[in-house]
C-alpha cells in the first residue's frame, strides 16, 4: 500500500499541480499490435502447414500471403497514423538510432513487406512456386523479430513496470499463434480434418497459455512492485475491470472451451466461432493492457 494509505497521519494529497498527460499511446497502437499479430501469425502458421500438409495447402499460398500483406499494411498504416509527425517517418531510415526497438521494428517490418510483395509477384505474375517457396522462408524468418520487437519496446518503457520484456515476448508469440491459427480456421472447408484439428490445437494452446500468464500477472503481479499493484488496481475493481474480463472471457475462456470440445468430439462446426471470438477478444485484451499503465501518474 502507498504511504498515504498506511499512515493516516500522512494523509498526503496533491493540492496544486498541472494537468497530467492522459493516454499517450491510444487505440491506434492497439490496432497496430492486433493487425501485426494476424499479419505475422498467418506466416508462422503457414510455414507449419506448408511443411506438413504441402499437398492440401497448395491453394493456400496466395490467401496466406494476401492476408499477411493486408494486415501488415494495416499495421504500418496505424503506426503512421499514431505518429504526431507521420511525414517524418522517413527519418527512421535517414537517421536511424540503433539502440531503439522502434528502429529495428521499422526496418525489419519494411523488409518483410518487401519480401511479401515479391512473394505476390512470384505467385501471381511470374507463377514461379519455387521462387515463392524460397521467399517464404525469408518471410518466416523476418516474421519472428517483427512479432517480438513490440515486446522490447514495451519493456524499455521504464516507467511502466507492468510491461516486462520476457513476459511480453511470450505474449506476443502467443498473440501471433492465436491470430494465425484463428485466421486460418476460416478456411477450414479447404482442409482435411487433421489439419483443422492441428489449427484448433494451436488455438487452444495459445489461448490457454496466454490466459494463464495474464492470470499470473493478475494474481501475483501486485506483490512485485507498488507501481504494478496500482496499475493492476485499474482491472481489479477499477475503471477497466469490466473491459478486462470481457477480453479474457472472449479471447481466451470461450475459445478454449470451444476448441477443446471440438477436438474431443472430432467436430469442426464450433471452430469459426472460436476463431472470431479469439480475434475480437485479443483486441480488447491488448487494449486494456496498453491503457492501464498509462493511467498512473509518473511525477
Amino acid at each position: 500500500m502507498a504511504a498515504h494509505e498506511t499512515v493516516a497521519a500522512m494523509n498526503a494529497v496533491v493540492t496544486l499541480d498541472v494537468a497530467l498527460p492522459g493516454i499517450v499511446w491510444p487505440w491506434l497502437v492497439t490496432m497496430n499490435m492486433w493487425a501485426k499479430s494476424i499479419g505475422t501469425g498467418v506466416i508462422l502458421l503457414g510455414f507449419y502447414l506448408f511443411k506438413n500438409y504441402s499437398a492440401e495447402t497448395k491453394t493456400m499460398k496466395l490467401p496466406i500471403t494476401l492476408i499477411s500483406f493486408i494486415f501488415l499494411s494495416l499495421f504500418l498504416l496505424f503506426t503512421l497514423a499514431d505518429l504526431h509527425q507521420p511525414f517524418r517517418m522517413i527519418n527512421i531510415f535517414l537517421h536511424p538510432h540503433w539502440s531503439s526497438p522502434i528502429t529495428y521494428g521499422a526496418w525489419i517490418a519494411s523488409a518483410l513487406m518487401g519480401v511479401l510483395s515479391f512473394m505476390l509477384y512470384a505467385l501471381y505474375i511470374k507463377k514461379d512456386e519455387e521462387l515463392f517457396d524460397k521467399l517464404y522462408t525469408w518471410a518466416f524468418v523476418l516474421s519472428i523479430p517483427v512479432t517480438l520487437y513490440t515486446a522490447i519496446l514495451m519493456g524499455m518503457s521504464t516507467g511502466r513496470e507492468l510491461w516486462q520484456t520476457p513476459v511480453e515476448f511470450v505474449q506476443m508469440v502467443l498473440a501471433a499463434t492465436l491470430s494465425g491459427s484463428a485466421a486460418l480456421l476460416f478456411f477450414k472447408s479447404k482442409f482435411s480434418y487433421e489439419l483443422t484439428r492441428d489449427l484448433a490445437v494451436v488455438l487452444f494452446v495459445s489461448v490457454t497459455a496466454a490466459f494463464i500468464i495474464y492470470m499470473g500477472e493478475y494474481i501475483f503481479g501486485p506483490g512485485k512492485a507498488e507501481e504494478v499493484r496500482m496499475t493492476l488496481a485499474y482491472v481489479q475493481g477499477g475503471e477497466y475491470t469490466v473491459m478486462f474480463w470481457i477480453g479474457q472471457i472472449t479471447a481466451f475462456i470461450i475459445p478454449a472451451v470451444l476448441t477443446l470440445l471440438s477436438v474431443l468430439n472430432r467436430t469442426t462446426n464450433l471452430l469459426p466461432l472460436a476463431a472470431i471470438l479469439a480475434l475480437a477478444g485479443l483486441w480488447i485484451v491488448k487494449h486494456v493492457w496498453l491503457m492501464i499503465p498509462q493511467l498512473l501518474p509518473m511525477s
Binding site: A2, A3, H4, A8, A9, M10, N11, A12, V13, V14, T15, L16, D17, V18, A19, L20, P21, G22, V24, W25, P26, D82, L83, H84, Q85, P86, R88, M89, N91, I92, H95, P96, H97, S99, S100, P101, I102, T103, A106, L153, M156, S157, T158, G159, R160, E226, E227, M230, Q294, L296, P297, M298, S299
Partner: protein
C-alpha cells in the same frame, strides 16, 4: 563536464517563479510544462504542512528516452544535457512512455516531443538556466557535478547522506538531485491525486495530446 541540478526543498517556498521563467524563456505552450512546482499537503488539520517540489527533466546519465528514440531526436550534449531536436522528432511518443519521471510531453503546437533542456541555449551563451535566475531564494543550484570545486558539488558534499534522486530503482542515474525531500515529494504514488479537483483548477488530466489525438 557533467551539468547537474540540485533543488534544496528546505528553501523552496512554492512561488512558481521558476515555472513562469521557464515558460517565458522557452515559449512553452499553454497546457504544457517543462518545469512545474507540485504542491502536496500532508497531515490532518490542524497538524498540516504544505510541501513544494519543482519537477523537471532529470537529464539521466542512462536516459531511457535517449535509448528509445528511433531517430536520435533526443540526444546527449557533451556537457551531459539530454537535448531535443524538434526538427528531427517523428512524434512516436516512445520517449514519453519511456521516461519514468513524466518529464516529456508532446508539444501541441509542433506535434513533437519536448522537455526541459536545462536551457541549453542559455548555457551555450554562458548564462544560467532561466529558472535558476528567477529563484528568489536560490533553491536551484546548477553547475558541473564533475568539478569538485563547483557550487553544486560543494552542496552535495555538505549535505551528503541527505541528497536524493527520484526513483533511483529505475537505474537511470539522474543528474538532478534534491536536498530535504521526503517520500511524498519525490514519489508520485505516495500522495493521493483526487480526480477532478485541485486547489486552483478542476482539470487533472489532458484529454488529448497534439493534433488528431
Amino acid at each position: 563536464m557533467k551539468l547537474g541540478f540540485l533543488v534544496d526543498l528546505n528553501l523552496c517556498m512554492g512561488c512558481k517563479g521558476c515555472e513562469i521563467a521557464c515558460k517565458v524563456e522557452n515559449e512553452v505552450p499553454l497546457s504544457s510544462w517543462r518545469l512545474r512546482v507540485k504542491y502536496v499537503d500532508v497531515g490532518t488539520f490542524p497538524d498540516t504542512k504544505r510541501t513544494y517540489t519543482p519537477l523537471r527533466c532529470n537529464h539521466c546519465a542512462d536516459a531511457p528516452c535517449e535509448r528509445i528514440c528511433p531517430v536520435s531526436a533526443l540526444h546527449y550534449l557533451d556537457n551531459g544535457i539530454v537535448n531535443v531536436d524538434k526538427e528531427r522528432c517523428i512524434g512516436c511518443a516512445g520517449c514519453v512512455m519511456a521516461c519514468p519521471y513524466g518529464a516529456i510531453y508532446i508539444d501541441p503546437e509542433t506535434n513533437t516531443a519536448d522537455k526541459c533542456t536545462y536551457c541549453a541555449h542559455r548555457i551555450a551563451g554562458g548564462m544560467m538556466p532561466s529558472c535558476v535566475v528567477a529563484c528568489p531564494v536560490e533553491a536551484n543550484i546548477f553547475g558541473d557535478v564533475a568539478d569538485p570545486s563547483s557550487n553544486i558539488s560543494k552542496y552535495i558534499m555538505e549535505f551528503q547522506g541527505n541528497v536524493q534522486v527520484r526513483k533511483p530503482e529505475k537505474g537511470t542515474n539522474p543528474h538532478h538531485y534534491y536536498v530535504g525531500g521526503g517520500e511524498v515529494q519525490l514519489n508520485p504514488l505516495a500522495s493521493k491525486r483526487v480526480e477532478g479537483f485541485s486547489l486552483f483548477n478542476n482539470i487533472t488530466h489532458l484529454k488529448h495530446i497534439g493534433k488528431g489525438h
